[in-house]
Structures are given as C-alpha cells and as structure tokens.
Symmetry: D2
Subunit: 263 residues, 4 copies
C-alpha cells in the first residue's frame, strides 16, 4: 500500500515512523505546511531515508495534483489540521485514493465536504484512531447491552497538564449513555493515557482497561484502517464500522469452537 | 420460574440465598445428601422460610420421582457432586425439566449421561457458571481473533490455600491457545478470585479483568442460564452458547448506532 | 488476652468471629443493646460456643460493674455506637482495661470523655481501624514528604448504594492536604471497598492500593491495636501512633540490611 | 550543580535530556566511546546546544584529566559500561567529584575499585536508579516487617522481547526474602515496565505498584542522587541509603501531625 501523509507535528512524526517501519506499505511522501526543512530534523531524515522514495512537500508551495500524479498513492492519512481536506479532498477522491483522517474536530463546512467526498471514495473519520480504544468501546457497549443492569463507571488518567475530560472518554461515555460529567478524570505526572470502564455486578466486577504506551498507537490505527478499507465501497466510515463486522464474523466462527464440548 | 437445587455446601448455600432473593423465581426445594438438619443452620432456615414453600430433602431417603411430582420445577440447578445426575437425570428429563449443572469435573460415564439427557431436554454444563467470567472469555477470544498479532498473558489471583492453576484460568488459557503452564498464578491472603487477560500491542495495552466479590456470582450465573434456556430446544449447552448469540445480536444492533455519525 | 466486645451489628458479628478464631485471645463476653437472643442467631451460637466461656449480655439489663468483676477482661473493643462509652468508660478505666473504639463519629461530649479516660488507661480511637488502610495512609504520607513535587490523586471504589465520599478517603485526603472534593468516588455493584493513592512523576507513576476483601479486616485491626497497646502508657492513641514507631524502628533495622552491599 | 555524563546510548541520551531540562544543574560535557559525531544526532545537538556549555568528548581520544581541569564538574553520572570507571575513577576521586553510577553489573575488579574510590569521595551505585522503584522497595520492606504474616507476591511486566526476570524484580525479591523463581514475569507488546508487590491478608490486600512511563526516570533518579549526596561524606552508597534517612526523618515529623487528634 502506498501512503501519503499530511502533518509532521509531534503525532505526525510518530505516524511517519510507524509507516516507515511497516513492511506492508511505503511512505511515498509527507505534506506539511512549512516549506522549510531544517537539517537534522525528521523531515530531513525522511527526505534522505534509505528507501529513496519518501519526500517532504509543503502545501504552501506544491500543487496537490502534481504530487498525486508524480507520486501516486492508495491512501492518504491525515494528522494535520481541519482545513487540509479542502486542499487534497477533490483531487484525491477523483483519483479513487481512500482517505483516513484523525482530525479531532471538523467545522460544519468540512464535515459537509467529508460527506460529499464519501460519495466518490471510502473515507474514514475517527477522532481516536487507535485500534485498542475502539475495541474497548465496542466490547464495553456489548457488555452493557448484555448486562443492562450492571453499574458502569468510566475513569481516565492523563498527564498533569491535560485540560478537561479526554475526547476519548467523552466518546466512551456517550456511547454508553453516561453523561460526560460523570467521567472520573485523574491528572498525574506524565501518564500517557489510560481509559477504564468498570462494570459492577452485585457479586463480581469486570474492568476493561486501555493503556497507551506511546503515540505510535495512532499510526498503527491509521494503517489498520487504511488496510481494512482496501476493498471498501465509497462511503463515510468510523473505526467501529470496520471493527463491528469483524466482531460479528469472529463471534460466528467462535460458535463451533466453544460448542466443541458437545460433539 | 420454579427451581430445585442440588447441593447445600458452601457454594450451594450461597446459591440458595441468591434464588430466594430473586423475585423472578422460587426455590421449591433443596436436595442434599444428609438427612439430618441441625437447628439454626441454613437448611433449617430454608425449611422455615417465610415463603412457606421451600423444603429440604435428602437424596438418601427421598425418591426424586416423588419430589418432582409433588413439587414440580421448571429447572434443576446442580452444585452438588458428579454422581447426582445419575439420581435425578432421567426423572427430570422425562418431565422436561431443564438442567443447569456447575460441576467442575464429570467422569466419562456421567458426561455420556449428560449427552444422552440432552436429547430430551435442555442441559447446560459449565464448570465456571458466572456470567462475568464467561463474558471475559468471550471478549478475550474476539479481541484475539481481531488482533492475532497481540501478545496475550493471563494472570489469576486467589486466596493463599488454593492449589494449582484455577480451573477458570485453564479454560481461558485453552480457549486462547495458551498452555496452562504459562498462566501466572498469584496466591495471597484472602483474595476471592481475579482473572486478567492482557493484550500487548507495540504502543498500547488492553486489560480485561474479572474480580469475584462473593460466591453469590455462581447463583446469579446459574439463574441467568436457567432463564436464558426457557425456550431453548433440547441440547447440551455451555454458557458461551447462551452468550454468543447475544453478542452477535447486540453487535448488529450496535451497527446503526455507531453509524449515526454518517446520516 | 481476654476481650469484651460491644456491638453485635453486621460489623460486630464479623469482629466477634475474628476474635473467636484468634488463638492469642478469648472472647469473654459480648455486650449488646437488646436483651433478646433469638435461637439460631450468632448471639445464640456465641452463647453456646464450645469454649464455654463466651456470653452475651444486654446493656439494658446488666450493670457493667458486675460483668467486669465476674468476667474480667484486658481490653474492650467497641463497634457499637457513640453513647456506649458512657456506659462502660469509667468502670473499665478504673480497672485498667484498655479501650479500642472504632466508632466513626463521636459528639463533643463523648470525645471529651475519651480524653478524660485516657488519663487513666490506654485508649485507641480510629474511625478506620484496619491495619491495611492505616499502613496505606502512612506510606502515602511518607512518599509525599519525600517527593513533594509529585502529583497526588485519590480514587475510592465502593458498592453502588454507598453515599458520599468514604470516611476513609476523607481521612487519606486530609492527611495529604487534598480537598475532599478532589477525591474520585466510583460506585459499582458490590465492590467491598478499595482506596488508591496515585503519585504521578514526569516519567513514572506509583500506586498504593488497598482492597477490602471482607469486613473481618476490622476485627483483625482491632485485635492488632489491642495487642500493640499491651504495655502502652495511659493516653489517647490513633492507629498511626502504633504504626509510626514500628515504621521508624524497622527503617532503622533496614539500614544495615540494604547497606550490606557496602561491606 | 555541574554534571559530567558518561554514555550516550539510548538511556544515556534520555539522561542527557533530563539534565539539560533541569534548572538546578548544567550538563558540562558528555563522554562517549566513539570520536565520531554525526550531523543531526543528539550528540550534534548537545554540541550546538544553546547553553553554549555542553561538549561531547570521546574517551578514546581525550585524556580525562584534561576534561576535568578545563571543565570541572561536581558530579559524574555514569550510564556507559562497567570499564569506564577505570578511566575516570582516580582522576575524579582525587578532585572530590562525587560519582553516581547506574551500571547493572560490575565485575569483581571494578566492584573493588568502587570500594577503593569510596574512601576518597561519595560514590553511589544502584543498578536501578529511579527514585520510584527504590521508594517501592523501601515501602515494601517496611510493610513486610510490620506485617510478617502477610503473603507476598511480585509481578513484573515488560515489553515482549525482554529476556528473563527483570533486574529490578530480582532486587525487590531478594530484599523481601523471596526467591527469584517465584517472581511472575509478564511479557506483552511494548509495556515500558511495571513492578507490583502484593501483600495478602485474610481480609484485605495491599498493592504497591510502580509503572515506568519513559526512560527519563533514570535521569531524574541520577540527579536526585547527585543532589542528595551534596554534603555526603566519602563512602559507598545505595539509593536506599539516601532514602531511608528521609523516611525516618519524615516519619518523625509525621508523628505530631497524626497525633493532632489528641491535643
């Protein structure tokens, strides 16, 4: 899979590293705002990377059409900012490039554009793009549906300076019908990020806990999404859209496996 | 639902309490080995319980046919020992009573009998009958199938005197393709029982943890099973057989819910 | 050690059981409000206990002087209610009986009485009398003093119906200079009780966690206190007063142990 | 405090960053084996750091005497390898420079040298130099001494490729009288490193847990040690030697604080 990446901020750099370390894809180019590449920086390193194929362009000086024609990609992964989609959206959709965007918040106009692009190509938009967090959300929702009488509590832990309830915790809370105010947020030192959902029964407790080790989880998630959408029809997808069919398919496979005791 | 209970050991007593506390069913009778009921004991208390309907019989002195005819039940819940099924199996199956047995180990002969009984009535056999543990097993198996490259570790914690790896941990391990020897068993003080499955990814960790608060979880699980099987066809069931269809059904319901972002 | 117990409520019964199970002491008598002992109850069981020494009296009908003279004790353990100390205080102090009281809240008058009694005998008053919780408080305070720049968070978990922040969490918070409002309280199912103090450093996290398994921890704590005070001078003590000297003494012992590397 | 650093491996680089970020000290120079500094590397960055004071030297080409004379330091922090102490030891000790070394294993000859150097200057040697882990060890030892009957279990978790029981877990185990074989080691994904000591009582459980967030904890610990030893006499120290007096001193301060209830 040939990938083009938007964004070379702290997260973007970590995503670039994940893509370069993945055997199943190549990082064709990176698009950043600034045209300036300082020597010794990651941008510089990507430029001179041994694959001889990665390049860093600036959206301020390079027309996207040129880039897509000279260095075609199968997927664009976007960790830049909300307005980038205006720059690459049409050109990419017209070429059937699938889009994976991890932008937290889109203004209404850009949300509208995503919807419009999704009539032409497969578009995935997920504010938290790690596989683990989305598996957690899914498993938590299933447990709640099967055990509607269980009490549910959500705890999230992050580094001291993080303001407000984490976006991920809000998404978890909303999906479980819990108000954001009831999320318990702990702030301490340099904790990268943990989310725990607790199900309380009269005589037992179940805990689902996700711990972030490093921001590379974002790159892993974006690549997972780009791979999963390889044969997807045009449409607007979430991580859950990709994971739920896998849950159902595997639960069906699981059935004969556990029934083995009977035969 | 009218329930007959086999076994008044430590777990059996706790199950009796759960049934008596549940509004949706009645404890019609308890069957125990010994005929002797000491004053002030739980057996005594059940005998004199305010429902005026519970009775304690001894399998040593009372024919099961008499009990089933005079005090008919919809389900038998068995927390006694492996041989009891020889005593009640045929009489119960002939009357269409569904059977829920939580016996850990059955010799081959009794396993054969369970299979034979399951051609006439619905039989559930599960060595660990708590809902929570079985949800854990199911969720862990699904995660593993979706993330086959994740490392998996299993830790179980129990009170100091518990010998060997817990049966539940063995079941979890086998279902995940892990050898029992790789389970990490901690023994400390009076811990009732916890089981944790850890999924390690390069940049994130997911933990599924089940903590037993009290043995009443067994009663809750047995009643859940007895209720779920109300309209079940004859056959031999595990807890997973009851839970997997609920997983699939709910995952399907979940689909439009998470797709709401698209509409 | 001969012990007299006040209170036969849910916690009191559990404490009674702990004392009866402890080889180093005998339960001489239990004092309760009501004079009525119902057959088959724990009171009945204590009355008929095989030691042939335990008795249940009612404070409504029995003068404490009589009890203390006929059945002398070394320590009184009080899990009843705030006013009991008015009933037994003077008679006990005059006889040099040491007092261990686990009453959560005393009105001013009874607090004053405790202070006055403590001029005659050793009195321990601790709203949370488990050894574990007090070790947690102590260790947390020491960590905070050594690492004053660490962020500190407190989380407590209890069963669904528990109202408000737990008293223990309030004590932990106050001792660490954290306002009670900042304690995160989770309520779920039947969790007996956990308290966790989290120390966040830029590059590491330390968690001190206490989990209650059963209310018998109260009995264990009360007996620990009664034993520790065996040679204590008259005075008003807290659990910390008993534990801190043990900390200091052991830290001193620890010094040559860790220094062994040097010799 | 002026610091000289030995070692620019993965951990060494992280330590260099910690020192440069700390307002209370300056990184005077770094000593590494190789004389070659590649452009854009951290060594390069340190060379050109804005303080204008950091320099990178190679022990292969630069006499240590020259470095110490031209760029004097108060402390040497050593994250390189066992033989380095032969290179810098005498010259540093003669100048009263205090030594902090985090080398895991020293051959007998180098251990002997450390002891000999410690007659001239203060030398700290600790295979795990994070403050948090050493606080954990200390607190765990105190808990065990106060509660000798508690069951103790040790669990450590690390990234998948880590071989054998972690050195830190071995140290914890040895200090608690537990054989290394009884440590439970989990290996999963990219877990940076956690160590948990569990104390099991009949009715309660205490858990002390240390989680590494990033290798910068090593730098923090080395600086803590270098600062603490500012006025230390010549001698061979461990992290515990620095922490135990702080424990005792603070426990003494704590005494009137908790006794406040009495006055």
């Amino acid at each position: 899979m040939r990938v083009g990446l938007f964004g070379l901020g702290k997260t973007g750099r970590s995503v670039a590293r994940s893509i370069m370390n993945d055997d199943t894809c190549t990082l064709e180019w990176v698009m950043r705002k600034s045209a300036h590449v300082s020597r010794g920086s990651l941008a510089d390193e990507i430029e001179r990377s041994t694959t001889g194929r990665s390049r860093v362009f600036s959206s301020a000086t390079t027309p996207i059409e040129d880039v897509l024609d000279r260095f075609p990609v199968d997927a664009i992964i976007d960790f830049s900012s909300a307005e980038s989609v205006n720059y690459y959206g049409d050109a990419a959709a017209r070429r059937g490039v699938r889009l994976v965007t991890a932008i937290s918040h889109y203004p209404c106009a850009e949300q509208e554009r995503l919807r419009s692009l999704s009539t032409e190509t497969a578009v995935l938009w997920s504010p938290n793009i790690t596989v683990g967090v989305n598996l957690l959300i899914l498993a938590a929702n299933l447990l709640q549906m099967i055990s509607p009488h269980a009490d549910v509590e959500i705890v999230e832990e992050h580094f001291r300076m993080k303001k407000g309830v984490s976006s991920t915790a809000k998404i978890i809370a909303n999906s479980l019908g819990i108000t954001e105010c009831d999320v318990k947020s702990l702030r301490a030192g340099g904790i990268v990020g943990t989310h725990e959902v607790i199900f309380g029964f009269p005589a037992q407790t179940i805990r689902l806990r996700h711990e972030s080790v490093s921001p590379e989880a974002f790159g892993e998630g974006a690549l997972f999404a780009a791979h999963q959408m390889e044969f997807a029809a045009a449409g607007l997808y979430t991580m859950e859209d990709l994971l739920i069919p896998a849950f159902i398919e595997n639960a069906r496979k699981l059935q004969p496996r556990v029934l083995a005791v009977n035969s």
